[in-house]
Subunit: 128 residues, 2 copies
């Protein structure tokens, strides 16, 4: 569904790559970010052979694989995730993601919103 | 990916219909609910010709269409949603969903978690 004049301002579409706040998370991985009051939604796209840095932040996170395959790293384990997989990352738990032969699209939810992701920019905004 | 002994406890799969807290929201519409600390994830399945009651709640909500088509009602408008569409519902805004000829699967995120959805049961837990 295109984002034309008939669309209400509460409706978005993940194939419209001009919506949201754009961040280049790392080489080969960009995200579109949508900010709510208590939470934040992100659509991250990984090209094949992309390595996301391990990081942590106080905001709770849910990830949901929308397309492709990738490896989710959490608690020091790299787990291959595929169609239909989703995962929960509690506050301050170190995590990361990487792709291998395939590209991937991942939907993430953060609660509360991550302050670093409210602005166009680069990087994962790694917590100190 | 099946939920076998090799799987960590932070990983789920939407095709495993035994995971989560099961609620029958209304005739033709059930949900699997996963509870976090600051947020809650729900996978709702609508059979064709299902009508969800209009309701509201203080928790912010994001919805994301995973499969099929349906009509999202918000601000008094019924908007036909299809592949890739997602939507934002601020606190206390009345909303609802219905399906027509097609079934639909909708991923919802609530922040904070909805207390009514922490338990197996029936209904949307409509705010008074």
């Amino acid at each position: 569904m295109s984002n034309d004049k008939q669309q209400p301002n509460w409706l978005f579409n993940r194939y419209n790559t001009s919506q949201g706040i754009i961040r280049q998370l790392t080489k080969g991985m960009s995200a579109q970010i949508f900010v709510g009051d208590n939470s934040m939604l992100s659509i991250a796209r990984l090209e094949p052979h992309t390595q996301g840095e391990l990081h942590s932040h106080p905001e709770e996170q849910w990830g949901f694989l929308l397309e492709g395959e990738c490896v989710r790293i959490q608690e020091g384990k790299g787990i291959h995730v595929s169609m239909g997989d989703f995962w929960h990352t509690p506050s301050n738990v170190q995590h990361g993601i990487r792709s291998e032969e395939q590209a991937a699209v991942v939907l993430d939810f953060f609660s509360p919103p991550r302050p670093e992701y409210r602005e166009v920019g680069k990087g994962f905004g790694i917590a100190k």
